[in-house]
Symmetry: C2
Subunit: 207 residues, 2 copies
DNA sequence: GGAAACCAACCGACGCGTCGGTTGGTTTTG
DNA sequence: CAAAACCAACCGACGCGTCGGTTGGTTTCC
């Protein structure tokens, strides 16, 4: 293997970056591979050297983005002790990431769902993955006696769903201007929903 | 518009019914007009007599379905006195309708997003419309002193988002088997989220 | 009979994926 | 060490199927 890989690696990244830009601006179906090639200062042939087909580009992008987001979530959660604080940190991380990368938010909230049958399976997994992160923390909280027992699976999904709806609406309409603002209103709702009075347990933390 | 013949009206309905079936089974983009024509025992030309283009078919379908669902919600809400009960009835109506018409759920939760840019606007409106219905009831509840003041807009969206997530997951995975079952777990969460203890206010009502 | 409703056949654009060919760096060899 | 051989990476024109939409003629209904 004649080591020419760094250049190729970088090209591959460029392709995925261009794909994110274009998919999130024009949607999966309306994006042509030619556009991605142009956006990544490559050629169609170059794109097809790195990916077998258009679908694979999208899937790779989805996986890369998911992995990146999960990583950030892990880090943020690791900085917290309390399971509720961990769950809270996870939500906040998602919100902040999307707030700073609207294209990413578009991708996850709109385009990925609309990209067609073949991606539904993967999207279902990803959504469940995020909900499961919440669920695990709630389970811990119940185990530690912080929460009364409850259906944590539904609660995890409900929390995620609430967050997703706020985010989707922001993607659609740009409201509220600062996405994080919505969270200050959402947080007490979520806390109360699992039986925590606003100030009983969770102290609002740094930043 | 020179009085539509009853036969033509019926044909138009058949087209929309076929469109619902096909769009929800194969998605907007993957559905060809030929398929809709075939599914409605018409011809392509016949379809194009009733609708100017494919987009209009989808939009008409979306609007018809939305109107129908809103109507059911209105009816269900009218049977309740209490604003919280009204909100609850609205959610339950949505859930039941989707539970009985999975194709409709697919359409709203998945395919509508994949139909392209032009539909995002309309979908945003529809989502906001549903959230606003909840919001109005919460506002009433606050006004009547049933609830402590809270950000009802966020709460309305959060409620809707939680419901949507549960439903979307059901569309994806078929879990839980009976969609209504999820609501029995979700309801107390929602109630608590706005500061109602499970049994303080709302009595579980008939059916 | 004539307008409304319907139809089969047709058209043209578009986009995915392919494929023959190029490039520029790396390894081999005399 | 330099020429020859090699190869991963890259390029872009084009074939081909698909599909939205059109058209000109036919049937149905008043």
């Amino acid at each position: 293997m004649t080591t020419q890989q760094p250049r190729a690696q970088e090209r591959r990244h460029r392709i995925l970056d261009a794909a994110l830009r274009t998919f999130s601006r024009r949607g999966y179906r309306d994006t042509s591979v030619d556009e991605i090639a142009e956006g990544s200062r490559t050629s169609k042939g170059g794109v097809y050297f790195h990916f077998p087909n258009k679908e694979a580009i999208f899937l790779a992008l989805l996986n890369r983005s998911t992995a990146h987001l999960l990583e950030r979530i892990e880090t943020a959660m690791a900085a917290q002790e309390d399971p509720i604080a961990k769950a809270d940190a996870a939500l906040l991380t998602v919100l902040r990431t999307f707030a700073n990368h609207r294209a990413l938010a578009r991708l996850f909230m709109l385009e990925a769902l609309g990209a067609g049958r073949d991606f539904h399976q993967r999207m279902s997994e990803i959504r469940s993955e995020f909900a499961a992160i919440i669920q695990r923390q709630l389970d811990d909280a119940v185990r530690q006696g912080i929460l009364q027992p409850l259906d944590t699976e539904v609660a995890g999904r409900a929390w995620f769903g609430a967050l997703a709806e706020i985010t989707t609406n922001w993607v659609f309409s740009g409201q509220p201007e600062r996405l994080e603002d919505a969270f200050t209103a959402l947080r007490p709702l979520l806390m109360r929903s699992v039986g925590l009075t606003s100030n009983s347990h969770l102290e609002i933390r740094q930043r």
